[in-house]
Symmetry: C2
Subunit: 287 residues, 2 copies
């Protein structure tokens, strides 16, 4: 397993972690100042500043992407909605390409409208079929452009509204179906917050292997957890066995960044400088 | 699939559903008044009234148990704690026997102390091993007494603090290991709230079969869900495909009660009469 203690060249910051503190251009500057080598930005953060400006700033600072958030949300109430989702995913691929991302992360979606408390239908099998078809269609364009797609299984507590792919096994079954040749164009983003509980975690990381393990996200699971979305913990403050999991991922062939992604009403109230400094310190000690 | 529309003879009320409104003796009276044929009581509710009195009241009203809640919570910080848990589980089996329950439901526990925000250790594999050993030891006594144990997989969002068995597949793997002869003494409680999201749900219900499907719990998953423990929905108010799931369970051989278990800060504020009447109405229409 790689030694993270000497420096933080393997650290990436998912920019949602400090999204309430700063706009993306400031986040990039603050990362550069701390010699953070990679980020994973969200589309809305990029758009708010302007993608050309962000692309230039990334070149100037030498900061790379560990991923781009996000494509997905394929299921829809009707055919027009399904088409609009596909179009939006092609646009996301173009943006990922412009920012030279190694992959586009997919939060696949689930029952359409459920996020607003009004699901258009309640058939999760239908949502899963629409996700499958949506990824299959998007993969065609992704292959043309050369932009790998990383399916991110979300925690089962988000199965109704955000993603109906909820385990690594399920995501990898889909990879087997849609990319049986293991071309590297379809894989998974393993976010420990979503998968830490899974008794099959080690086995499925091994199954994914280097060619399908496209991203690796860390934070921590707090006890108690007070919110289903925005109560993630800083690494080391919860119960996830971070080093054990990284050992498994690296044994499976993963050699990329450890990307910190913390949605937290607590950390969003802290000065951004403190959040980034804490991420660096924890990266070197507990990740 | 059985027709539930004509009457509610297949309805059972898990007594946690109205635990804030009434003591258990009143709950039993209110169930009897509505011709509800079965309940699943919690140990603390039984103890608060007195087990002899409850046993007598059940005989007098002709109300049966669909299960008894609960044994489990096997992991502990030290050897003394592990022994105390085993002793408590034997006591739970004796109580289940006295109340003529068809099974003792196991909420198996996880990281000891996590429920109070202070886990004694964070190794979920260790917790799972302690659960395995605890069930194995408890099963010996359960066989002597003739009281089946029903492992209840809890939702992965409760993996840290309440149960480190989180899928039907994981529970059934343990059944295969500890009771390979399928004696009927070890099985599962399938609570749809915990397992509805699982892409392998149908397959694992089939795998369980009649001899391992010892209990079947219903409620609903709300969008949004505002609390990880006490925001369950009334059947029909959420996104769980209740009839589809019951079709699977019955195709697998299940022929017992549909037990309503709703932990809900909302429903606990309602008059108990209204809650029970609503359970009956929904049982006949959407379960």
């Amino acid at each position: 397993m790689r030694d993270f203690s000497a420096n933080h060249e393997t650290l990436s910051i998912n920019t949602a972690t400090v999204r309430k503190q700063w706009p993306l251009n400031r986040i990039i500057d603050e990362c550069a100042r701390r010699d953070i080598r990679a980020i994973s930005p969200w589309r809305d953060q990029v758009t708010a500043v302007g993608i050309d400006r962000i692309a230039r700033q990334l070149r100037e600072t030498g900061i790379r992407l560990s991923g781009f958030c996000r494509g997905g949300f394929f299921p829809a109430a009707d055919a027009a909605g399904l088409r609009a989702a596909l179009e939006d995913n092609r646009k996301a691929i173009d943006e990922a390409r412009q920012l030279d991302s190694p992959c586009l992360v997919l939060v696949v979606g689930s029952l359409p409208g459920a996020l607003n408390g009004a699901p258009a239908y309640v058939d999760i099998s239908r949502a899963r079929a629409e996700v499958r078809d949506g990824i299959a269609a998007t993969l065609e364009y992704a292959r043309e452009i050369g932009m790998p797609l990383a399916i991110e299984p979300l925690h089962p507590m988000q199965a109704a509204d955000r993603a109906c792919i909820n385990t690594l096994e399920q995501a990898l079954d889909l990879c087997d179906e849609l990319d049986p040749e293991r071309t590297g164009m379809l894989g998974v983003a393993a976010d420990l917050y979503h998968v830490w509980w899974d008794p099959k975690l080690e086995a499925q990381l091994m199954r994914a292997g280097a060619d399908r393990l496209l991203a690796y996200h860390v934070c921590d699971w707090l006890t108690p957890t007070r919110d289903l979305l925005n109560d993630r913990g800083m690494m080391g403050d919860g119960v996830i066995e971070l080093k054990k999991c990284r050992h498994w991922a690296e044994a499976a062939g993963y050699s990329g960044f450890a990307e910190v992604e913390i949605f937290s009403d607590y950390w969003w109230t802290k000065p951004g400088e403190e959040v980034l400094d804490t991420c660096i310190a924890r990266h070197k000690t507990v990740v």
